[in-house]
Subunit: 180 residues, 2 copies
């Protein structure tokens, strides 16, 4: 099995919030496709904070792609000034929820949509999370933070009260890391 | 907490493989943002097939967004002729792997990226999967099918040999449904 060759890249949208490329690619069969769209997206971090009392910290927020208010674990895009995924994770956790923790444990790095998007999503477990700061929201953010017993999360997933792929995946990775 | 109001939608790209809208939105605070990009994407199905011998059926394929050959569970976009998510799942399973099953059990429906994308991803468990047909690939598909003991999947996730969010999430949903 071979990767494709990229023969040409046309930049279709080059906005700071949206970058779309149209690639001309040559498949291993020799076939050429002149309209393979790729979405250039910044990497993302997702954090599962757990308090010493055994509560997971989650955020409820309106998401305009889905046009719904959704319950998720905190996270967001890398900022240019973030030196590492762990720095981005600590920053997003603090800004979105006001929680911090002593140490972030990396769980994995995965692709959300490797067919169309370039970005990875870095999962972190934040044990010993506690409310220590005020929140600092971006312009588009209005976020409600909730603590939910970690043991109740599978039921919320089954009931589709948690219905974002990353939040489902990180819960199970965290449970595996915590030996639950 | 309130959803945003969409005041105007400009169509930036309207290709059959890529649809991007630029929305002008009004936030609950009254603030107006005139460049909120939304990617209009078709819904997706993802299937976790398990054979009577306890093997999961996975596919290995080059993905041009990530520019990597990746191991995932079979799936794909809804076709216009698919009457339901279950029909799309049965079709994708048969076309990509040549496997069929007696019954597809819905596990959940989740958003991959509710911030930017409109689509949902429907997870199905296909117990009693067996090779019964020839594969039928799309133009861009070159797919290798592999059977992997279901019990080995968590180790492959830990080792990042499986590194796509949907495939991680569906494994744990399937394990929960199977009482494992």
């Amino acid at each position: 099995m071979q990767p494709w060759k990229t023969l040409k890249t046309d930049i279709e949208i080059n906005n700071r919030w949206c970058r779309v490329h149209k690639d001309t690619v040559e498949l291993p069969s020799g076939k050429v496709i002149d309209d393979y769209f790729v979405h250039i997206r910044p990497d993302v971090v997702l954090v599962l904070p757990v308090t010493d009392e055994g509560n997971a910290v989650m955020v409820r927020q309106y998401k305009h792609g889905a046009r719904e208010i959704l319950l998720e674990f905190p996270g967001g895009f890398f900022d240019p000034e973030d030196g590492s995924a762990a720095e981005a994770a600590a920053r997003e956790l603090r800004e979105e929820t006001g929680y911090t923790c002593d140490k972030l444990e990396p769980l994995t790095a995965v692709y959300d949509n490797p067919t169309k998007d370039t970005n990875k999503i870095y999962f972190f477990l934040a044990r010993g999370a506690r409310k220590s700061h005020d929140t600092e929201f971006d312009t588009t953010e209005e976020i409600e933070t909730v603590e939910i017993p970690f043991k109740d999360i599978p039921q919320l997933i089954r009931e589709q009260k948690i219905k974002v792929t990353g939040s489902v995946a990180i819960y199970f990775m965290a449970a595996m890391a915590m030996g639950i």
